[in-house]
Symmetry: C2
Subunit: 361 residues, 2 copies
């Protein structure tokens, strides 16, 4: 295994869209979504392990989740868990991880992974990461993995491919990024064939991403390099606790990818889903003859179609007449909602919080 290759797994997200399953104190990445006995985060670590050695796997998360991460990933050593003192979206997180890794190994290349996505084709994934890292190791390039869209999904970011790269198959220049288009635009994107879903999987060398920060987000880099020689030393935590909260709240896409002129996309077929919504989860889950999905529970359904039952504990659900519904029961909350309206769930969670208190979210 190439000892210069590192993986950064971002696992600090809150994610209210799977409420009541995901909770403030246990967001989606820590849940066993498929009843395999492993959380999405554990599956992510397992997935990358054949190509990145454990000591090169870095987790970045919010301080709040330190306990649950140590519990779920006892094999990751303490110094590889970077605990953000505040939520500041992905750009500050990527910058810190790059500085940390660069201090350990100036020749490092890095694949950055979300912790809560589904990847069904592991071999394709390994091949894509391996080829992608080779590509970024051989020049000043920032690479993202693009997924061929199968529907006009308005929840994803879209990447428009540009010209081919000479001598490299399957990788193209990026022409444009579009965050969450409206449905009309998403349909155009789908038909056009030039647009791909942004998987949120990024590849670069530590040196080149820091170079990009210097060019496109210098305020973040300056903030996190205000003292010299702190990374990889006992001073790092204290320094980050002081500096990090002052970073702007901005995504890596906005801060760097949309601005840089050396951005590439590798088109991949990974059996990928960001599992961003109940609908996305429904779509990748095995269904019975009536199109119902049963998640870790016993269900007696009559005249139910296209519905998803996700219930925690050894519980039975008896339901009739539900068409295209989510039934999600967990702890002190029960959700019975049309799948088609699932984008409202985020707002509902806010309303629940306001009306009934933090205890329910």
């Amino acid at each position: 295994m190439n000892t210069h290759r590192y993986c950064v797994i971002m696992c600090g997200g809150v994610g209210s869209r799977f409420w009541p399953f995901s909770r403030n104190n246990c967001p989606k990445q820590f849940l066993d979504f498929f009843g395999t006995g492993k959380s999405l985060l554990q599956l992510t670590v397992e997935r990358i392990s054949p190509i990145v050695r454990p000591e090169n796997i870095i987790l970045v998360t919010n301080k709040q989740y330190a306990g649950i991460i140590r519990e779920q990933l006892p094999q990751i050593k303490e110094s590889n868990i970077l605990l953000e003192p505040a939520r500041r979206n992905t750009a500050p997180c990527v910058c810190w991880a790059a500085l940390h890794i660069h201090a350990l190994d100036p020749e490092a290349s890095i694949v950055t992974l979300p912790s809560d996505h589904l990847v069904l084709k592991e071999n394709e994934f390994h091949k894509a990461i391996d080829e992608g890292l080779s590509f970024v190791e051989s020049g000043d390039r920032l690479l993202t993995l693009g997924i061929r869209p199968t529907s006009p999904n308005t929840g994803y970011g879209y990447i428009q491919q540009g010209v081919t790269v000479e001598g490299v198959e399957g990788i193209r220049r990026v022409k444009s990024f579009t965050e969450k288009p409206n449905l009309e635009m998403a349909k155009v994107f789908l038909q056009c064939g030039e647009f791909f879903w942004n998987s949120g999987i990024f590849l670069w060398t530590a040196e080149n991403i820091l170079k990009a920060f210097k060019l496109y987000a210098p305020e973040i880099l300056q903030l996190l390099t205000a003292s010299e020689g702190v990374y990889g030393t006992p001073k790092e935590t204290e320094f980050i606790d002081r500096q990090f909260p002052n970073a702007p709240n901005i995504s890596i896409d906005y801060a760097i990818m949309e601005k840089a002129d050396n951005v590439y996309v590798k088109i991949v077929d990974l059996g990928w889903s960001d599992l961003g919504t109940w609908k996305a989860l429904y779509e990748v889950s095995p269904r019975n003859a009536d199109g119902n999905v049963t998640q870790n529970c016993k269900v007696l359904a009559s005249d139910c179609k296209g519905s998803m039952f996700a219930v925690s504990g050894d519980k039975i659900v008896v339901a009739a007449g539900l068409k295209d519904y989510i039934v999600a029961d967990n702890g002190n909350a029960l959700l019975i909602y049309p799948i088609a309206d699932e984008q409202k769930i985020r707002h509902i969670v806010n309303e629940v919080k306001t009306r009934f208190g933090e205890n329910y979210i």
Copy 2:
């Protein structure tokens, strides 16, 4: 208070129609249906207490529920709780209670009450019981309370009134009994004006109901009087344990009321419901502007109408788009079912038992 007046409360029923709220080990009568902090049984005892003294209140139940009854009714002394060793419907139960009471007081009159009904008009109830007992104390008469029907309910028994009784207002001879008619017949009954719902509240003297058993159900009386002088003595329990299981499984309506020629009905307006089904409970519960009923729980409902939410514990329900549904969540079971199909719930409970085990019912 008249010391010869007794009350028998029948509280041995199983009642699977309120599953998953009512459970095998905790049927409906032991549940706090209205969030008042008191079970239906406790409310029944409280309701009769102003007119029957505590030492004259006799509970008849199945052995299985001895514990929960002692817990809910610590004021009722042990010897007033008759524990049936087997389920044999209401006729054997009524006969035993009459023999027991007759041994204590040959002049006793008895009002027999179901333990799991709703009565909103307490004063009317007290008046009806008082007048009814006076009526049965003054002659060899069996009396039942009849409720003026408000809908063609097919779940009730119907009593057809006969001729008036000279000198007594509001009480008539009974012409016929009809158990659970079909809808067509129930509609005719409703229009006709001669038919009343059988409340299951019966009044008679101990002597006269025993006389009726001798005439119309002699096998039950013989069985329960096979030894002499056991009632009200330490031998009673052992005798009942031996004899009672041999009694036929038959209701008091079939065994006595439909056969006897001295049966009367007193028409009453008690704000009564037998709470026999979710729908019955829905109909007597306060509703919000959308016609939804919320039972002991927090609900955030959008576009829900005519639905009933009954959830145990300090839980929140978020629901959308439900029309005329029951949502009942209790322990290890969740029911989401159209109210209109509620008569299927009994069968479902059987299916749950068969497929998933006793633990769920």
